[in-house]
Amino acid sequence: MATQTTAVVDRTVHAPRGRVFDVVKEWLTTVDHKKIGLMYIGYALIFLLIAGVEALMMRIQLAVPNNHFVSPQTFNQLFTMHGTTMVFFAGMPILFGFGNYLVPLMIGARDMAFPRLNAFSFWISAFGGFLLYYSYFGGSGMYGAGSAPDVGWFAYAPLTARVFSPGHSTDYWTLSILVSGVGSIGTALNIVATILCMRCPGMKMNRLPLLAWLYLVTSGLVFVTISPLTAAQIMLMLDRYLGAHFFDTQAGGSAVLWMHFFWIFGHPEVYILVLPAFGFASEIIPVFSRKAIFGYPAMVAATVGIGFISLTVWAHHMFTVGLGAPGNAFFTFSTMVISVPTGIKVFNWLATLWGGKIHFEVPMLFSLGFLFQFVVAGLTGIMLSVSPFDWQLGSSYFVVAHFHYVLVGAIVFMIFAAFYYWYPKMTGRMLDKKLGQWHFWLFLIGFHVTFDLMHIPGLLGMPRRIYTYEADRGWAGLNMAVSIGGAIQGIATLIFVYNLVHSYFKGKEAGADPWDAWTLEWSTASPPPAYNFAETPTVESRRPLWDLKHPNDPDSKYEG
């Protein structure tokens, strides 16, 4: 009873900066979950910028009709590389990076369950990204100029057959995804084992921070989602190299089977990306509303529900193939059903805000943007889930606008929020608030100019993946506006990158707990020492630091 308690003490230490070689060696050989997390994030940021540049090049090409900024061939490579890079080498690693960094800290552990597997997973994923971009040099074989893959990010058969995709660029695409898939499985396995087996005393599953819960479900999805993709990529390799006939229609194979296999991966993948974003929101919104999260058990149940339902919706990507009435009805229904648990989450976040004392810090600005944009993205999702509507708009810019609303409007916004929220923990310094506000407002404006307007050319019939269009289609003005919005987002992102670098050297000292938050990562120094916690903490409720700061009114009195 009654051990000595003190307020959280700032123990920020400034290690002397070692010689360059020592530092490099330390990072290359590290098995520390925080360093690996940071490497994941840094690696993902590099690919985020590369894929962003690819997006901007496409927008330059499409800004005016009959443009010749890039060739049709290059344009195909650009959208293939943009999609593949963003999903596999920006989205997944950035989320795994935050998971790696935060999960052990939040559950009071000193490292992940399998530190060496963790390092292996990172390096093999990084190798995958390298392989993908190596295709620019080696795609046509070592003798000539390279060519990137140009089969689209979902690489439908028979485009990937040897006849239609000669050279090695498609193989680099396949291998890079195979290899990074191995890394994803390794990291997901690690996260699950860490959460189930490494919790500090008292951290029961019903006291787990919601972020950890969401990472648990995301990782579970990785096993049943990335693996089918791995299997399909193995089949594609067998087709291309050993003359197998999985997707070869000439020998009775089926192109539609590839579509099924790809989307069995492809749709749950969206939830793999968005669930961690939900996790960030579930940590950030309560702290800046100064209230505990509303409906914790409902949030957990909704998360698990989303995980299961997301496995049953894949064929809504294939309505235009012609699934027949039962297929159309089932996948329309399941797609609509998934909006129920998602709606529960949205209402719980709103209820957390309700009556709260809202602090409009930069992470909160991005979280509020996320909340509203995610609802809009969900609404266009329900529109597209209606199969007759989808027959009209499938493969149009309406679809592109819809999924970018999810990926940028929801996920990227929450990733930015997470940066502003946890950067002080990772570096010991605050990100500059003024620059952060500029970043937020510019990005918000750019986002809405681009993606609100992008729905309209879709409704007017503009198909995806076209490299240019005639002037008389009535899309020109809208496309120009969309491109200008893209440029604004680019500028906002540059401000963000500048802020990251600037604040690392010149930022305000953060201290251990700059946001007056409640989860365990804020109880240790910023940046945390290699061992995270000098003593393994013990928790009594979902908000251990609240209990510490308010010994007379601890949460444990109210949680059943």
Binding site: C197, F223, V224, S227, P228, G243, G253
Partner: protein, 198 residues
């Protein structure tokens, strides 16, 4: 001065969590099972859709003996685990050796079957859809058997040289989980390939 978040309440009672080795292996098994499911779905989907011969009915024979060997190796690896748990080193080595032997027989059986199919029946992975799906599914399983045999052989070497003690029994337990999985997959593959679709 304490500078960690220690909550001013009585210490938590007994704090037990699952073994991370078992959880990790369970996750790997879920992931591997998903890969197998996709290959099995492809097999079922393409069953009877080959545009040319040979068909499974013409060339496949039931590998009953080797299947019995593989399934029994699940029992022997279990005995190896419990022998190690009780600290009986020689028994552990014996059971592990038997497991490797039984797994090896299975692998040799697969090799002979493939030799027969390739050189006598003219069935390769590029012959028809049956060849494509058969070699990839059975080959995927065989590659898992090979990985398992490598791990089991390493365990056997450690056991023979006395480097494996009862302190390692949980690790052997985790490895035997993998081996049970490989055997269970074979039951499904056997039923799908040799019974239902032949």
């Amino acid at each position: 001065m304490s500078n960690v978040a220690t909550i001013p309440h009585s210490a938590v009672g007994e704090w037990k969590q699952p073994s991370k080795g078992v959880v990790g292996m369970a996750c790997l098994i879920i992931a591997e099972a998903s890969i197998f499911i996709i290959f099995i779905v492809a097999y079922l989907y393409y069953a009877g859709k080959s545009l040319s011969g040979p068909t499974p009915h013409e060339v496949l024979e039931l590998p009953i003996f080797t299947s019995i060997c593989l399934i029994s190796s699940s029992i022997t690896v279990h005995f190896a685990g419990s022998a190690l748990h009780h600290g009986k080193r020689n028994a552990t080595s014996l059971w592990l050796a038997l497991t490797v032997l039984l797994g090896g027989i299975f692998l040799v059986g697969t090799g002979q079957e493939w030799y027969q199919l390739i050189y006598h029946d003219g069935l390769t992975i590029s012959t028809n859809l049956f060849g494509t799906t058969f070699y990839s599914l059975v080959g995927l399983h065989a590659s898992h058997v090979i990985v398992g045999l490598i791990m089991l052989s390493l365990s056997l070497i450690f056991s023979l040289t006395g480097q494996m003690t009862s302190a390692h029994s949980e690790k052997l337990e985790v490895l035997s989980l993998y081996w049970h999985f490989v055997d269970a997959v074979w039951i499904v593959v056997f039923l799908v390939v040799y019974v239902f679709c032949r």
